[in-house]
Symmetry: C2
Subunit: 218 residues, 2 copies
DNA sequence: TATACTTTGTGACAAAAGTAACAAACGTTG
DNA sequence: CAACGTTTGTTACTTTTGTCACAAAGTATA
């Protein structure tokens, strides 16, 4: 069962897309949004949208659509976007810096409250108001501040040790950008973002595409 | 049918993970790798690995496993990782810079051959040996060099116009990091990496987790 | 060679996800 | 208010994906 307290995983992952469209529509003062609308924006059929929303228990009005603000508010609550979520980020390299400086995450309630690195040259530097701290402070800080999320942007060979430190610090959710497998206790959730793997899958498409399109002899 | 020339999409996306483990094992001179091994590394059951590999037509040896180098080589060919794929990247901000400077993509055959931005302050700058070019050069350059992939790392409000320019330049595959929907002709493949949406889905888990774990009264 | 292990490939089955269809609900228009 | 178009919630169905189980194929050992 890949369910997550009642809602299938693929549905859950579509909700933020709907949410984003609703916010946009709310800004434009559009009072109602239809499943057709939401579907076109998300690239899924309207029936899919209705099914996804039926897992939640917020209802729309036949002939009209969904109340824009009400549904946006409900999704915000369901996804916990209004709740503040505090995170630490380890590995202040190019990617870590980009994630730290990205303002979009704050709109979803994420606060990156501390940065860590092993490189003495980086420790003490400031990135977006936050100072880069040495690794030995990680476990204690995470524990003291009850940090909810850990973001890993170190090279893969260092990722496991960072993950273990986060676990020691009581962190229960890890967002991992290093291309490797992490071993953690069962109660810890690891979500990996493997961009290189996505690229490799895309690479296959590019090949097949040029094969199909180039020798147009047939 | 979400098949991709015979192989289901989820299987295709697991292949790079297997590939990575095989490369590691090859470096350690391990001659054979079993489906159990591959599965543990990828976080899927061994039967899943065998099924995925059965879509390709490279076979393993019962009682032994898969020939490490042979399978790695076959996956490399199947995924087209050895083929050079030329890409342009538009939007040399924090994320664009990180992607440009990341050496890992080159291992998968990706060459980012040109950078573009609209900001006069960035045009002419150099990022990892590549000069940032003005937007008006995009279409012509893409067409002349038969660029295969476009990478979009501009703010969402600018993404559609960039995508359209890429299409005009004959680009057939777009890797989009802006959190928005892109409308392109059917023959163009868009793969979107929506990190904020992933975060929002994670946010839901964090909420549910703290609810389940904190009030342990029941 | 016989026997005791491993491990593969696959076909049958189970679960999950997506699609389509439609009655019921609603608004609008004349 | 009746007729018509729109849109919902849900059910039934199809397709896709994942899991399991096992015969067959291989290795190792005595
Ligand atoms: N940059 C990208 O576009 C990109 C794309 C895909 C994947 N990734 C992955 O993301 C991760 C980070 O990539 P990057 O480009 O930012 O790398 P980077 O080399 O720029 O940064 C890595 C940082 O981690 C620090 N670090 C190394 N070992 C550490 C340790 N044991 N503890 C704490 N800090 C440590 C380094 O000092 C450095 O600051 C890598 O795993 C990479 O494979 C990056
Ligand atoms: N940085 C992150 O961690 C992160 C995370 C999730 C999503 N994103 C998305 O990735 C994209 C880039 O993020 P970023 O943090 O690098 O932003 P950024 O503001 O640092 O960089 C954006 C760049 O795009 C350029 N640009 C703007 N309009 C343009 C146009 N019309 N044509 C060409 N170039 C243009 C800007 O000059 C700037 O250099 C955004 O869409 C953002 O939402 C970023």
């Amino acid at each position: 069962m890949s369910e997550t307290y009642g809602i299938p995983r693929p549905s859950l992952r579509r909700l933020p897309i709907y949410y984003r469209h609703l916010i946009e529509m709310a800004e434009r003062q559009v009072p109602y949004v239809s499943s057709k609308d939401l579907g076109q924006n998300a690239g899924v059929p309207a029936s899919q949208v209705r099914k996804d929303l039926s897992y939640l228990h917020e209802y729309g009005r036949p002939g009209v659509g969904y109340d824009t603000k009400a549904l946006a508010g409900y999704l915000e609550e369901f996804l916990g976007l209004a709740n503040d979520k505090e995170a630490i980020l380890v590995g202040v390299g190019n990617l870590g810096r980009a994630l730290t400086l990205y303002p979009g995450f704050a709109q979803y309630g994420l606060q990156i409250i501390a940065l860590f690195d092993i490189d003495p040259a980086k420790i003490g530097q400031t990135v977006g108001d936050r100072e880069v701290l040495p690794m030995f402070k990680l476990v204690d800080l995470a524990r003291r501040l009850k940090v909810q999320m850990g973001i890993i942007t170190v090279p893969p060979h260092a990722a496991q040790e960072v993950a273990s430190a986060m676990v020691s610090g009581g962190i229960k959710v890890i967002w991992n950008f290093a291309p490797c497998k992490l071993t953690v206790p069962a109660e810890v959730l690891v979500k990996s973002e493997d961009l290189a793997a996505e690229l490799a899958a895309l690479s296959h498409h590019i090949m097949r595409r040029s094969q199909v399109l180039a020798p147009a002899t047939e």
